[in-house]
């Protein structure tokens, strides 16, 4: 899988939130995006997911121009904001409902994913009773459950305690070894330094810096 972002610019109101962004991202790597709040990380992720049409430039996923073909990237899962599931359903029921859209996994696989993020004991608890950290873990489980080739995670460690954050880091490293293309945005430097193979620093809609691990 390959993501190409070419010369992407996007204005929202009077503010240019993305300024001439050029990226080439490949499978088997974790790409970290770091920057202050409002630096354009989320906007970039929304553009890559097909939710924010660039004013100029293009985004290609596996050679297909998302906005020319008016489509969303295939085999991709994302968590772009605070996970918001149906509050009166349990965590398991919420994931099951979403999994039925594609219908490629069964109940056991959903349960496996919940175990992976240490939510197996809370699977039958209603979403409205989940803590912030549990909600975040359920959001990550939602991304992982269908084994997508591209994972896009915006601030995935929000609300997680150290132990859970460490667990999620290990999961993401395993996923990388399986050949997944993973994009992570965060404003916490330590998170991304451990995980990222390539780290982009963003500020005011511009990629200021690119660090590559050897």
């Amino acid at each position: 899988m390959k993501i190409e972002v070419n010369n992407v610019r996007r204005k929202l109101g009077n503010e240019e939130v993305l300024k001439n962004i050029n990226l080439e991202l490949e499978s088997g790597k974790i790409y970290g995006f770091i920057g202050r709040n409002g630096s354009g990380k989320t906007m970039l992720f929304r553009t890559i997911c097909g939710f924010l049409k660039p004013d100029t430039g293009y985004v290609k996923v596996d050679g297909r121009d998302l906005y020319k073909n008016n489509e969303f990237p295939k085999d991709t899962a994302a968590l772009l904001e605070k996970p918001n599931y149906i509050s009166d359903l349990t965590g398991f029921e919420n994931l099951k409902l979403l999994s039925k859209i594609k219908n490629i996994i069964n109940d056991d696989q959903i349960m496996e994913t919940l175990k992976l993020v240490n939510l197996e004991n809370e699977a039958d608890k209603k979403f409205k009773k989940y803590s912030l950290g549990m909600k975040q873990k359920l959001g990550i489980a939602g991304v992982l459950m269908e084994d997508p080739k591209i994972m896009i995670l915006d601030e995935p460690f929000n609300g997680l305690d150290d132990e859970s954050a460490e667990k999620i880091r290990k999961i993401l490293l395993k996923e990388k070894e399986k050949g997944k293309l993973i994009l992570i945005a965060t404003h916490i430097k330590e998170d991304i330094e451990i995980l990222g193979d390539v780290i982009y620093k963003m500020d005011k809609g511009v990629i200021k810096n690119k660090d590559e691990k050897r």
């Binding site: 489509e71 968590l79 996970p83 859209i101």
Partner: protein
């Protein structure tokens, strides 16, 4: 697609009990008031479904606004939920076309449930629902469903504010022809100069295109 329809129905089911109670109170109140105002059996049923107009009747106008208002709000709620909360959970799994189709089906089912519920309360209050009223019920459901389809289609093509402007412009456009085309939202008694209304609607639509 079935999962999305199920999701929408769950959202409909999970609407706060407070709003559900308000709705029941609305139906009961309007049935009782209509009875006192000497409307016949047919008229009462049409009034509580927001589909009856009598010149100068505030009751008819109010019921029409309430029912159509509820349908518009329900359509917004069902349509915008997926877009507002984590759209990535839905749109990375299904094409927009299929998602839209699921909305059309969900809204039809919700519409049926809503009007069958109204009919149920109507019967519980001692009225009879005969074959003729049953036929009316089907016509009303289809009529109101067109209103929702129109709104969803507009929301899909235009931004929120533009959709609203075009939608309400089209709804009040029957005034131009002194007839009922859409939505049974009868306001002809209140604005009755076709030229002013025409200019007003054209201006609104131009503004909405500009805003889009």
């Amino acid at each position: 697609m079935r999962a999305l329809i199920k999701k929408d129905l769950i959202l409909f089911k999970n609407i706060s009990l407070f709003y559900k109670l308000l709705f029941v109170i609305y139906v009961i109140m309007f049935v009782l008031i209509s009875r006192k105002s000497n409307f016949n059996n047919y008229d009462i049923f049409l009034i509580i479904t927001g589909s009856f107009y009598k010149v100068g009747s505030t009751l008819c106008l109010l019921s029409s606004i309430i029912i159509n208002g509820i349908l518009v709000l329900l359509t917004f709620y069902i349509y915008r939920y997926d877009l507002k909360y984590n759209p990535e959970f839905i749109f990375l799994k299904i094409t927009r076309k299929k998602w839209l189709q699921s909305k059309y089906i969900s809204l039809f089912i919700i519409n049926c449930l809503l009007f069958i519920f109204i009919a149920f309360i109507y019967i519980m209050l001692g009225n009879k629902l005969n074959l003729h009223l049953g036929y009316y019920l089907i016509v009303i459901i289809i009529n109101k469903y067109f209103l929702q389809i129109l709104l969803v289609t507009l929301l899909n093509h235009f931004n929120f504010i533009s959709s609203l402007i075009i939608f309400f412009s089209l709804i009040i456009s029957p005034i131009l022809f002194k007839t009922i085309i859409l939505a049974n939202l009868y306001v002809e008694n209140y604005i009755d100069n076709p030229i002013i209304v025409t200019i007003f609607i054209i201006m609104l639509i131009m503004v909405s295109f500009f805003l889009n």
